[in-house]
């Protein structure tokens, strides 16, 4: 195992880490699958309200790639097809039947061909778990990836620890890895925390790399940059270790793996722990209560998640659900000038003696939006050798060539999330990066 030390970055020390214990969430009455979880797809319905579906039956598919289907995570009756303006598909809801039945999906094994494995994953609704770099969307099944990156760590604040969530899943992981090895002619890399949990170190067929240091040491963008930087035109597939285990479990049992482990975290969450829950479950089933407008329920971490209403649904990719206070009515008198020992900050100007203690956070901007004044904050939290402010400017000037030369394809919004957090001028760096990636996809 090779250990890489990441020095630039910033660990957000936030109160509300999940306890290292498992619990089972009750079976939800309703589950939902939403196209908005999958950036870039054009959803086309396969079912109508009233149809009966089994776990693993397709609900809708991507018009651009019709064999890529999105499946029901539970058996039951399609209770609602929510459409938005211009008949945009918002969600397909399924009223859950206690009698679970599974769709029959063609089986593959590690000895199957690449095409068979890809087709089976697509048909099983598991292909969306495979994402690609550059651009950071659902992987192109036709691409020949130069490597597969599996992420066995998460350095985001309060994030679920894959090593803990996957305890005892060694065989599923191995089965998943065996399938993934068929997808690439290159290596399969697995990034873990230093020390390495036995669940990972025992795996065969992967190249282990340990990453030490502050966030973003645990992001796949950092791993790719460090281990196998991409040349122009190259693609890699990227998966999280949890998802590899799900693919492995499907390969071993032939059933759609509808259950997964989600860490419930954040100071406002009632019970903070790792919870086994069904995909697409309503969040109140997971959280034990319906949070009101005074709390922000985030599917994901505070850096990359999506806010959901208290009665919303678990997102497809979320391995963590974080609940923090909105704080919309809290306003501090002279908050900009007085020393603030108990606030989240990277700067000594906020509190001159930063310690290791954890702080409470809420979802406020903590300042007005200003034109960019660069006091070196972006550079201090970006280990990728890019110049974020110049990359932003190139994108804002619609200069795609310059943006590509400046390393646009090495990043997605999660890689620059810290820049957005620490910017004193409160600019949204991630939104600009996504605009640049969209421009790239349109022009290429």
């Amino acid at each position: 195992m090779i250990t890489h030390k990441i020095t630039k970055g910033f660990d957000l020390r936030i109160k509300g880490a999940p306890a290292r214990e498992f619990a089972d969430a009750p079976e939800p009455a309703v589950v939902a699958v939403r196209p908005s979880d999958f950036p870039g797809i054009k959803p086309k319905l396969r079912v109508q309200e009233g149809d009966t579906v089994r776990t693993g039956d397709p609900l809708f598919y991507d018009k651009n790639r019709p064999d890529c289907v999105f499946v029901a995570p539970a058996s039951g009756v399609v209770s609602r097809v929510a459409l938005g303006p211009r008949r945009l598909l918002l969600a397909v809801e399924v009223a859950v039947d206690k009698n679970e039945q599974f769709a029959s999906i063609p089986q593959v094994s590690a000895s199957s061909s690449r095409d068979e494995i890809v087709a089976a994953l697509l048909g099983a609704g598991l292909w969306p778990l495979v994402r690609q770099r550059p651009v950071g969307k659902i992987a192109d099944p036709a691409a020949r990836p130069v490597a597969v990156f599996i992420n066995g760590m998460d350095s985001a604040p309060l994030a679920a620890d894959p090593a803990f969530a996957l305890e005892g899943r060694g065989e599923d992981l191995q089965a998943g890895v065996d399938l993934l090895r068929r997808l690439t002619d290159g290596s399969v890399y697995l990034a873990v925390r230093p020390g390495g949990s036995p669940v990972f170190t025992g795996l065969k067929g992967v190249e282990l790399h340990a990453f030490d240091g502050p966030h973003p040491a645990g992001l796949v963008g950092t791993h790719i940059h460090t281990i196998r930087p991409l040349k122009m035109g190259e693609t890699v597939y990227a998966l999280r270790a949890e998802d590899v285990a799900r693919i492995g479990s499907w390969a071993r049992t032939g059933r759609y793996p509808a259950k997964r482990v989600v860490a419930v975290a954040g100071e406002q969450a009632m019970a903070r722990r790792y919870v086994r829950v069904r995909d697409g479950a309503r969040l109140d089933a997971l959280l034990g209560k319906t949070h009101g407008a005074e709390d922000r329920v985030i599917c994901g971490t505070v850096l990359d998640g999506k806010a959901e209403p208290g009665d919303g649904f678990l997102g497809f990719y979320a391995t963590t659900v974080t609940v923090i206070a909105e704080g919309a009515h809290d306003r501090e008198l002279f908050g900009w000038g007085l020393p603030q020992p108990k606030r989240l900050s990277m700067f000594r100007a906020v509190w001159p003696f930063p310690g290791k203690s954890e702080v409470s956070v809420d979802a406020r901007m903590n300042g007005g939006h200003r034109p960019p004044v660069n006091i070196g904050a972006y550079e201090a939290v970006t280990p990728l050798g890019i110049l974020p402010s110049f990359l932003m400017r190139a994108i804002q000037a619609n200069d795609l060539d310059e943006a590509l030369q400046l390393g646009l394809l090495e990043v997605t919004e999660e890689d620059v999330a810290l820049c957005t957090v620490v910017d004193p001028c409160k600019n949204d760096v991630g939104a600009v990066i996504r605009k640049g990636l969209d421009l790239y996809e349109r022009e290429s």
Binding site: R331, S345, F347, V373, K426, A431
Partner: protein, 438 residues
Amino acid sequence: MRFLRNIVDNTRKLYAEPGSKFHKVWPAFDALETFLFTPHHSTPKSGPHVRDYMDLKRTMSMVIIAMVPCLLMAIFNTGYQHFAALAQMVGDGTANPYPDQVGWLQSLVFGAEYAPDLAAIGFADQVVFGLQQMLPILIVSYGVGLTIEVLFSIWRSEEVSEGYLVSGMLIALVVPASIPLWQLALACAFTVILAKEIFGGTGTNIFNPAMMARAFLFFAYAAQMSGDRVWVAGNGTRDLIDGYSGPTALSVAANAKLAGNHFESEGLPLVESSVDALTQAGFTWWDLFTGLVPGSAGETSTLAALIGALLMIALGVASWRTMVGGIAGLFAMGFVMNLTAGSLDGLGGLPPHYHLVMGGFAFGIVFMATDPVSSPETNAGKWVYGILIGAVTVLVRAVNPAYPEGMMLAVLLLNAFAPTIDHFVVQSNIKRRKVRLG
């Protein structure tokens, strides 16, 4: 606090919503509101949900705190120079202007018949005189500049940016305490409109606004910004104590002319070197370091600038690279000038550590050169920029026959080249990526 919050919440109704009574001027209200209470905006529903507590208000207020030592020194030194010059002149036979000419603050504090004993001037005398000069300068600088900034914000319908809070203080500290206030007002208006707002306001200006204000004054009203007579403030005609000549250390050293193997300074006996010229004129290195010498109000004290520099570096609001680079460039060019000093006037022969404490260099490299907007953004660029500022400062001082203060011109020149410096750093970043990725 509850009481204040209620007032703010009730006032919000008058301007916050489109169509409300004062909505057209909401940026002015918003500036007051967010001065009192942190803003109430929430983060977007996707993307990072939390934000650092640091904002631009805090960034700028930290710089202002770092300037407080310089401001205090400006207040004290203005009074100190005034009474020191007066004592010398009265000793030489000039009539004592007190109690005929008493300033406004002096008469408020000490009474209209104020007649200080020039042989035993107290701390209070000096501070009151200093405040009497500096308070109007600060009020005019902030008053004129902020008014125009707020007007532009209203016009653009944008939140008022905090940049001028630093510029206003900088301008007050880089002009002589004797500056006529109408000239200062013009300079502030000039710099806010023509050096800043027409380029797009805070964050998009090319030149440091405070340096532009100083440059404007220097070229438009040279008589009040240069020479030997403006650096000590007086009462009455305000700009000077009539007939007093108090040159700065820079002009003393600049005028130390080569004569055979000796330097001679105007009106002074033959000297061995420009350091001797300084010593004979009463300037030791230590005086120059502490700042009890004539000069622009806040620039004289290297010590105060050093305290400010350490504070800003510790708080992470200014680049140490620019500062260290500047000092390195100053020393390097100082040594080069020393080697060729035989053919040059006095400042070229000066040991480099004198350049560090003379004129506006220390203040400029700490507070002007580190301006994040007008300096390069890349770390490598900051090194180059700092080194060049230091080098050009000494070059101007040593070679330019007309004007011994090189700092202002060096900063403005390098402001203009900052994007070019960044360009080369960015190109090298691109090249490095190409090499790495093949």
